[in-house]
């Protein structure tokens, strides 16, 4: 089958810049190449952290120390968290697919500040390297968990400063990306594309970008304060120096809860693109989906206190935060109903991207409902800091954002590389991954309800069965991941040449060549219609 290129245009992949080979990538301000550079970095770090996760599961297969001691375990879960949260999931979809497709979907040739875009990639890489270095330089791997709770983070003898600096630097990169996207969306939409004619993936990126620039600086200063506390003995948070440890938790979660929406909003945007395409039907409730993204961003800013229900904050503030936590579930639910309604009565084509998108809904619902369990005051006290929490946020982050990321990879793969992957292989990998995921994380809900604390490297014998099942799930999940990525990597060069619109999508990225040319559009398109107009359904 077509082993050579049959497309006649010169794509961005072959575009000749000033430099050749690897330098043509490292110096490129092309948003598509920068997006792919993020993708490669993120995939590599994802596998590093996934291996750490598997190591933790091996350790927990049997009670008692098996392959590591308690301190090593602390280091591993910290690094797993730092890499997954700050290096993989927060930049995740926005930096990879946002960079690649935001300008194309709004009919622009690049982002507003292409050089700044490349700069933020370098900042990201520096931060990522610092994060990894924290494991090797200085006095041993940090053991505070990714949350860096003070006073322990101020006193731990391990190499916490590197990890703090890494998170700070990565946050800076995230701010710059968000800033770039907001300006791009405001200034570079194609003529005729009003805000409400914009596809919904850019809408979700817009809401995300606002959170990025309004919340990230707060964690930035908080991390700097912890660094100052360690280096200069300035007492902000450590009670021994006159500080207030609760202040740290407030400042930390003011960012880190909205950060959850930085992770999940672009994921919601991705599946919102996928459902109409594979149902060949306009998205149901366009306005509701667009506005609910903003609603999530706004309300999500004011729910951070639900991480602190057991810290002794006042009754009324607990009441308030719990109430808002329930409110923030509403716009998420609106989206879910809209996705389902989009599929209802459509001519559904069950291809791999849709499969991933549907499993996104399934896993996200489980994650979301258990989130309400945690957001309710009484149950929170019961399951606080148990593996119930671990299961909950893995369902949201891995099952939600992760599966949406995989959906996006399969959906836009033909556009990015101009090749098709093997559908059959993708189905098999999905099956293994989906089963493995549930086997891995579902037992943790039950263990948590029974009282298994999180972050413990050992446990009582009665928890053995659950942990064993979960560990088996880890191996299945990992196998699925390898198969899925392998399928994509293999067909990146060897796959059948993809047409410009293999899935009959209607947004702008499907109107240009696969892979796109260096400047995306010969002439900037003029937009007259709302997005998601499919021929069959026009009456």
């Amino acid at each position: 089958m077509g082993k050579q290129d049959t497309y006649s245009h010169i794509s961005y992949l072959e575009h000749k810049g000033r430099f050749k080979g690897i330098m043509s990538w490292l110096t490129s301000t092309d948003h598509k190449k920068i997006g792919l550079m993020y993708l490669y970095a993120i995939v590599v770090f994802f596998f590093v952290a996934a291996v750490l996760g598997v190591l933790m599961r091996i350790e927990k297969m049997n009670p008692g120390p098996d392959i590591m001691d308690a301190q090593t375990y602390n280091g591993i879960f910290t690094l797993h968290g730092v890499i997954m949260i700050f290096i993989v999931v927060i930049p995740g979809i926005a930096a990879v697919f946002g960079n690649f497709f935001l300008p194309i979907m709004i009919g622009a040739k690049d982002v507003a500040f292409p050089k700044l875009n490349l700069f933020s990639w370098y900042v990201y890489i520096i931060g990522a390297i610092l994060g990894v270095l924290s494991q090797f330089a200085g006095d041993g791997p940090p053991d505070t968990g990714w949350t860096f709770y003070v006073p322990y983070a101020a006193n731990s003898s391990t190499n916490v400063i590197f990890a703090l600096t890494a998170a700070f630097v990565l946050g800076f990169s995230s701010i710059l990306t968000g800033l770039n996207f907001i300006v791009t969306i405001h200034r570079l939409r194609a003529p005729g594309m009003t805000f409400f004619k914009m596809p919904l993936f850019p809408w979700s990126l817009y809401a995300t970008a606002w959170i990025q620039i309004l919340a990230t600086p707060i964690v930035g200063i908080t991390l700097l304060m912890v660094i100052a506390e360690r280096v200069l003995h300035i007492g902000f948070f450590d009670p021994a120096l006159g500080g207030d440890p609760l202040l740290f938790q407030h400042l930390f979660w003011i960012y880190s809860h909205p950060a959850v929406y930085v992770m999940i909003l672009p994921a919601m945007g991705v599946v919102t693109e996928i459902f109409p395409t594979f149902s060949q039907k306009p998205v149901f409730g366009y306005g509701a989906i667009a506005i609910s993204s903003l609603a999530i961003a706004v309300v999500g800013y004011f729910v951070w206190g639900h991480h602190m229900f057991t810290t002794g904050i006042s009754y009324w503030s607990r009441w308030f935060f719990s109430f808002l936590t329930f409110i923030v579930a509403v716009p998420s639910a609106i989206k879910v109903f809209n996705w389902i309604s989009t599929m209802y009565g459509g001519s559904i084509q069950m291809r791999p991207p849709l499969l991933y998108a549907i499993s996104f809904i399934f896993l996200f619902l489980i994650g979301g409902f258990t989130g309400l369990t945690l957001g309710a005051l009484a149950t929170n006290v019961h399951v606080h800091d148990t593996s119930f929490v671990v299961a909950h946020f893995h369902y949201i982050i891995f099952g939600g954002m992760g599966f949406a990321f995989f959906a996006a990879m399969h959906y836009w793969f033909p556009k990015i590389y101009g090749r098709m992957y093997s559908d059959k292989m993708a189905y098999i990998a999905w099956g293994i991954l989906f089963v493995g995921f549930n086997v891995l994380y579902f037992p943790l809900f039950i263990l948590g309800l029974q009282g298994m604390p999180r972050r413990y490297f050992d446990y009582l014998p009665e928890y053995h069965n659950g942990h064993l099942i979960s560990s088996i799930g880890a191996f299945i999940t990992f196998t699925g991941l390898i198969l899925m990525i392998g399928n994509l990597i293999y067909h990146r060069r060897r796959g059948v040449v993809a047409p410009s619109n293999p899935y009959q999508g209607v947004t702008l990225e499907w109107q240009i060549e696969s892979p796109p040319t260096h400047e995306n559009f010969e002439t900037i398109p003029v937009i007259q219609n709302p997005p998601y107009l499919f021929k069959k359904t026009e009456k």
């Binding site: 507003a112 500040f113 003529p191 309004l214 304060m225």
Partner: protein, 205 residues
């Protein structure tokens, strides 16, 4: 209104550039906002120590520095007007004046800090750690806030130097001066933050 579609031009149009800068300034405000929040909370728990320690600060130097920064904000604003009127030399001179004033500010800061250091009052020193807890907290905040602000003064001054070279090279001119505007905006932020730091740290005793 239809948008032109840059990404194809090498110069970023001025509206776009300014919007990026304003968003960046928001993030800077939030960065300092975290410190102001910490100030509010810690002042509430340690009001007496804050009162005592703040009285030790040199109001005279603080006032001088406030005036200096306000003047520098004026010169940088005048520089924009000068460039708009195509008076390149005056624009550059006014920028040099701004940088000079930034230098004066930093020198004052240097004297203020070194005066404290002479009394062995730096974070972590013996004298420092023997103070009351609440005073330690005040000095900690004082060093952190003024230190971070001083860092911003330096970055702002560097930006202004770059701008001077761009004006000299003719890249920034009366038709296109987004870099000058952005550096000036940044400089006003530096000024603005000081306007809040000064009363919080020096005047409320």
């Amino acid at each position: 209104m239809t948008n032109t579609s840059p990404g194809h031009t090498h110069q970023i149009d001025s509206e776009t550039g300014k919007m990026g800068m304003w968003l960046f300034l928001f993030t800077e405000l939030f960065l300092f906002g975290g410190l102001f929040l910490a100030y509010a909370v810690l002042r509430n728990t340690h009001s007496e120590g804050f009162h005592k320690a703040a009285a030790e600060l040199d109001i005279f130097i603080g006032t001088i520095n406030t005036v200096v920064l306000l003047m520098s904000s004026m010169t940088v604003a005048m520089s924009i007007t000068a460039l708009q009127k195509d008076n390149k030399r005056l624009a550059i001179r006014l920028l040099l004046a701004t940088i000079f004033l930034a230098g004066v500010f930093m020198v004052n800061k240097y004297f203020e800090w070194s005066h404290k250091f002479e009394h062995h009052l730096w974070p972590g020193s013996e004298v420092y750690l023997n103070l009351e807890r609440s005073e330690i907290t005040f000095y900690g905040l004082y060093y952190m806030m003024t230190g971070l602000h001083a860092l911003h003064v330096i970055i702002g001054a560097i930006l202004l130097v770059v701008t001077i070279f761009r004006i000299k090279a003719g890249v920034q001119h009366s038709g296109h001066y987004v870099l000058l505007e952005n550096s000036a905006l940044y400089w006003h932020l530096v000024d603005l933050i000081w306007i809040f730091l000064f009363p919080l740290l020096y005047l409320i005793t």
